[in-house]
């Protein structure tokens, strides 16, 4: 801390968190960032990086000093036009953020999800039975993608056709939070077509009654949000509800495949399923980074962050900060992973976290019942994304119980 109280310029580094090598294996860069200081100025993008748990947690909760309304990606909506109309949840601040958030957290809250538990468990059993009929398979496509794509679009109330568009759309949306690099360029080829499909699904008459989507429209009828807001809130579900869960499930399966002793442990105590999922989210942090924008000249741990500058929060780095976690690189079911920042924290904390947890619990419980041993059958392959930590394939071999 600066004894005079006048914040000073933070350390400056020339590293690119969005370069392919960093996306492939972000851990060394994260450690370097944590060790360089509480705030690090990244020259290439002129943004201020936070990688220690304490400061990331504070930045996430301090919505007054660090706004989301100027975009949670690198693009600064104060000066740049967003690629699509901003999200009413992720890219909005109070008071605009309040009503959409309140409506969605009611619809996706644990008590309103109870009615899905049985169906999803049955679905998970069925899928696991099918998939484990073979001794080896690709856990990304066969489980981590297949399960959410089986249950989530139904829960939202989407029609059958075009569901395959959800993954590439989400992938592009999360790439677009980063700089305009090759990953964004690649997604841009299909963005018009995918956006058109997603936007069309948000219309009231496309959504089956009783689903999350229809209930968002019902909230508009009740006057809690406007009818103009409803489709954008449905869009948030479709953008943020699939890829993130897919990658979190893949992270959990990978963690178990790489840690046979932890799989044993889970099989001995299936009640650990909930802890296991959150520990996997801490350990792999499927959503690696988000940006905020300083609403005034800020002092973070004595370092000056000037007004209007972007602040890049490394959720993944915070979740492995040895200042906060004992042996952070270990995937360990004996740990209490509570208060990790993998779902964010504060008013923007992932509103779908209970949905993801329920999906994970259903899937891993079914898997633990049927599978005695699960191990990697080959090198898993990373899928690169500017925001997400993901796998594109993960060959596994299993032994049935």
């Amino acid at each position: 801390m600066n004894p005079t109280g006048t914040p000073s310029a933070p350390v400056s580094l020339d590293l690119d968190p969005f370069a392919p090598e960093a996306l492939q294996d972000p851990l060394p860069m994260q450690a370097a960032l944590r060790d360089a200081g509480p705030v690090v100025h990244l020259e290439r993008y002129d943004v201020y990086a936070l990688a220690r748990y304490e400061h990331v947690h504070t930045a996430l909760t301090d919505w007054q000093s660090l706004q989301s309304g100027a975009g949670v990606g690198l693009a600064n909506f104060r000066y740049e036009e967003p690629w699509r109309p901003p999200s009413l949840l992720l890219e909005a601040d109070p008071p605009l953020h309040d009503a959409p958030r309140a409506v969605l957290s009611g619809i996706l809250g644990p008590r309103s999800l109870r009615r899905l538990r049985e169906t999803w468990s049955a679905n998970a059993e069925e899928l696991v039975d099918q998939v484990t009929a073979e001794p080896s398979f690709d856990a990304v496509t066969a489980l981590a993608q297949a399960f959410p794509l089986r249950v989530f679009p139904d829960a939202v109330g989407l029609g059958r056709d075009g569901r395959e568009n959800l993954l590439p759309y989400g992938d592009h949306a999360f790439n677009a939070f980063g700089p305009p690099n090759d990953l964004v360029a690649k997604g841009a080829l299909r963005v018009a077509e995918l956006s058109a499909w997603v936007n069309a699904q948000c219309a009231r008459d496309k959504l089956t009654p009783g689903g999350f989507g229809a209930r968002i429209w019902d909230a508009a009828d009740a006057g809690d949000i406007t009818h103009a807001q409803a489709p954008l809130i449905v869009r948030s579900l479709l953008t943020a509800g699939v890829d993130t869960t897919v990658h979190a499930l893949a992270a959990m399966i990978y963690a178990f495949a790489a840690h046979p002793a932890q799989w044993e442990r889970l099989r001995g105590d299936p009640g650990l399923a909930r802890i296991a999922f959150d520990e996997a989210v801490r350990w792999e942090s499927p959503v690696q980074t988000f940006f905020r924008t300083a609403t005034g000249d800020l002092s973070i741990a004595g370092s000056l962050v000037p007004d209007g500058k972007k602040v890049l929060m490394f959720l993944g780095a915070a979740n492995r900060d040895p200042r906060r976690w004992t042996a952070p690189d270990a995937f360990d079911l004996a740990r209490d992973p509570s208060a990790h920042v993998g779902f964010g924290m504060g008013i923007h904390q992932c509103v779908g976290q209970h949905v993801a947890r329920l999906e994970a619990e259903a899937l891993v419980t079914a898997l633990a019942r049927r599978v005695r041993r699960i191990g990697l059958a080959g090198e898993p392959v990373r899928h690169l994304n500017n925001t997400l930590r993901a796998w594109s394939s993960m060959p596994v071999r299993i032994e049935l119980a």
């Binding site: 605009l96 009828d221 809690d224 005034g296 002092s299 973070i300 509570s338 904390q349």
Partner: protein
């Protein structure tokens, strides 16, 4: 001058997360005091939005609900306005006569049953202390550039709180002290055409009944009200010690007054998954098999609280000496 965004990352872990200090107490009108509450360590308080109230657990064991009427951009203080209720059962009298700056109170929530929903126009109607939840709504309507008007009635001008703060709004505010202008004439004040408008009303029963009668037949969600109840709103207690029986693991854990239930469970080696540790995210929801929870979360509505079959162990406690959980 840079704002220091200070670290309270571990703050929510502390046992005193729901204990606040009276930072200041000042008269707001005849029979009304304004209190500001803050954490002893000056840390952030749980977020809130206009219309939210907190449960104040007084040192004498009484619990009262008060709307937050401060500035949500100041994350380190809550402001409430407390009317002395001559016919009350002593909660407000305690606040007026006994509670001093520096005293500690337990706080539940904030909870919000009176949210500001989007509208093309707002029509605010306040009776007496019912002005409190409307004050932050007015600030936000201004911020959003949404047109609004306020009709504010009270017994006498000197008994009406926060008139000074409303003075800046000029003729958007209509002040009607009863001894000067009689009871509020809602029908005359409300416009004929309420299309696209929302009416927010808070105050005594008579006023609410009148407004409800007038607004009957309007589209759903047009009128939004909050009734001020002087009565106790359910069992709530101070931070006494209690025992928790964990039915599935066949163990009993004692929760001391200086510990949250979540902490006590963790110290006994039983990790309940949590996240926000402020009663806002829902992660630590736990099934209650027996006993009466002392709910201090921001999530359950009144019916769910009364059902008492689930609780959020990061902030909530026990009314009685014993609680049985499905853990």
């Amino acid at each position: 001058m840079a704002t220091e965004t200070s670290a309270t990352a571990r703050g929510a872990d502390s046992a005193s997360a729901v204990e606040l200090r009276v930072a200041s107490k000042s008269p707001a009108a005849d029979g009304v005091v304004a209190l500001t509450l803050a954490r002893a360590d000056g840390g952030r308080l749980p977020d809130w939005a206009p219309g939210a109230h907190i449960d104040l657990v007084l040192p004498n064991g009484m619990t009262r609900q008060y709307s937050l009427c401060g500035d949500r951009w100041d994350a380190r203080a809550y402001r409430i306005g407390v009317l002395r209720e001559p016919d009350g059962r002593g909660g407000s009298a305690f606040v007026h006569d006994e509670l001093d700056a520096g005293d500690v109170v337990a706080v539940g929530g904030p909870r919000n049953n009176f949210r500001l929903a989007p509208a093309e126009r707002y029509l605010f109607i306040a009776g007496g202390i019912g002005i409190t939840p409307l004050l932050p709504m007015i600030v936000q309507a201004d911020m959003l550039g949404v047109e609004w008007r306020l009709l504010y009635g009270g017994r006498t001008r000197s008994s009406m709180a926060f008139l000074d703060e409303l003075a800046v709004h000029g003729d958007r505010v209509t002040i009607v002290p009863q001894d000067e202008g009689g009871v509020l004439d809602v029908a005359a004040w409300l416009p004929e055409d309420l299309d696209g408008a929302k009416v927010y009303c808070c105050g005594p029963k008579g006023l609410l009944d009148a407004v409800e009668a007038h607004c009957a037949g309007l589209p759903a969600g047009t009128l939004r009200t909050e009734r001020f109840l002087a009565a106790d709103t359910g069992p709530r207690t101070g931070d006494h010690a209690f025992d928790v029986e964990l039915r599935r693991s066949g163990r009993t854990v004692t929760v001391g007054p200086d510990r949250s239930l979540l902490q006590a469970l963790g110290e006994a080696g039983l990790h309940v998954l949590s996240s926000c540790r402020q009663g806002v995210c829902g992660t630590c929801e736990t099934t209650v098999l027996d006993g009466v929870p002392d709910h201090r979360d921001s999530l359950l509505d009144d019916a769910e609280r009364a059902a008492g079959d689930c609780m959020f162990v990061c902030v909530s406690r026990s009314v009685g000496p014993r609680l049985v959980l499905d853990l």
